[in-house]
Symmetry: C2
Subunit: 232 residues, 2 copies
């Protein structure tokens, strides 16, 4: 008998909850797996969707992850200034088989020094900023570089998790979960990426400008710390 | 100035959390909208994915919903024997502009007497059982009959919510949310429905048999109450 595979996802205030809950739904259907949500303390953590989720473990008590996952959202950028959270991510990553993120969770991996020279993706609006942390930004719904899997924005987390499931458990298990989740998506519009025919070009421009204006200083500060070794 | 549109979703133990969190993510990006999660009490509600979500309102304190949404999961069938929950759904539905469900949440609408003669869908594994509650089961990722919108299994909730957003707020708003959520799905397999080329036929048969064995008695009991008028 082998130990169950341990999935540890980071939870934080103002997480884009679907970044987290999409993959965690997939993880919860994996055979012989345990999925935890980690935060500083066991307390309700408010998501950006207006409701709170409870962590299952603290950073101190979390088991060593086989798969570490960091979701995104506006709150992910607060973690770039949270030395304890970055240290947790760095320690966990050192012992994990897979180090993963969804959406702007990639910036947390980057700030923890885990994306240097690695191909990675993130939400399209923040994609250009990923380079600041030493990553090689690559467009793709799911990007794999060695043991680092990064997903694009929000809903890409479902595709990411199914791909990871296929990698670890084999295609049959992943296919079976996809069937159970009735994942035969039928979006009402062809508008899910900046290049989609029905995407709103003005919105794309505004969103990228907004991400740059609100996030660039935080990301550059995290990059400076990485170079200076302050965060090690 | 008009009042914000009110979305009220039912939360319950053993909810399939992605049934709930997919649509609620979409709702949270709608302009001038408030989204609540309702349960008997304000207490952590364990989902089937191993973590708990906090309700934002109780059944007693919930505002009248403009949009009522009931997600599914194994716990949805417990609500069929919960007269207070069914009464909440029935009262809310009477004043709501839209009455909606995702996955096996349709059985809760049905047990509340809201699907009589209505075309509706649910998760494929339980689809045949929907007839027991007087609904006209229709295959479809999202089925609309008048002001009743029902979604199929789990991930169909995202498509359902975007379609509802388009209906209420117009295509531009829904398209813009789809872009923000980077919803350009790329499932790893063509295995998301029982009829998909890569679906596992044996699993389909097992799942339907399992749903029938574990759920039929509960659904028939709810149907008997409906006919008897006990639950009115």
């Amino acid at each position: 008998m082998t130990a169950p595979l341990r999935f540890v996802s980071v939870l934080f205030p103002r997480v884009t909850q679907l970044d987290l809950t999409g993959p965690v739904e997939v993880f919860s259907h994996l055979p012989d797996a345990v999925s935890d949500l980690a935060w500083h303390r066991i307390e309700p953590v408010p998501t950006s969707a207006g409701f709170s989720i409870l962590p299952t473990v603290t950073f101190d008590d979390a088991p060593q992850a086989d798969v570490l996952m960091v979701p995104g959202g506006q709150g992910a950028f607060d973690l770039l200034d949270d030395a304890v959270a970055l240290d947790f991510v760095r320690r966990q990553a050192a012992g994990a088989r897979y180090v993963t993120s969804v959406c702007t969770g990639a910036f947390v991996l980057g700030a923890a020094g885990l994306l240097g020279g690695r191909r990675a993706t993130t939400h399209w609006a923040s994609h250009p900023l990923l380079e600041v942390l030493g990553a090689v930004p690559e467009h793709g719904r799911v990007v794999r570089d060695g043991n680092v899997f990064t997903g694009g924005g929000v809903t890409s987390g479902i595709d990411f998790a199914l791909r990871l499931a296929a990698k670890i458990y084999g295609d049959n298990v992943a296919r079976s979960i996809q069937l159970g989740l009735e994942y035969a998506p039928a979006p009402p519009f062809d508008a899910g990426t900046p290049l989609a025919p029905e995407a709103d070009a003005a919105q794309v421009e505004r969103s990228i400008a907004h991400a740059r204006a609100t996030r660039e200083a935080i990301v550059r500060r995290a990059a400076d710390r990485l170079v200076g070794g302050v965060s090690s």
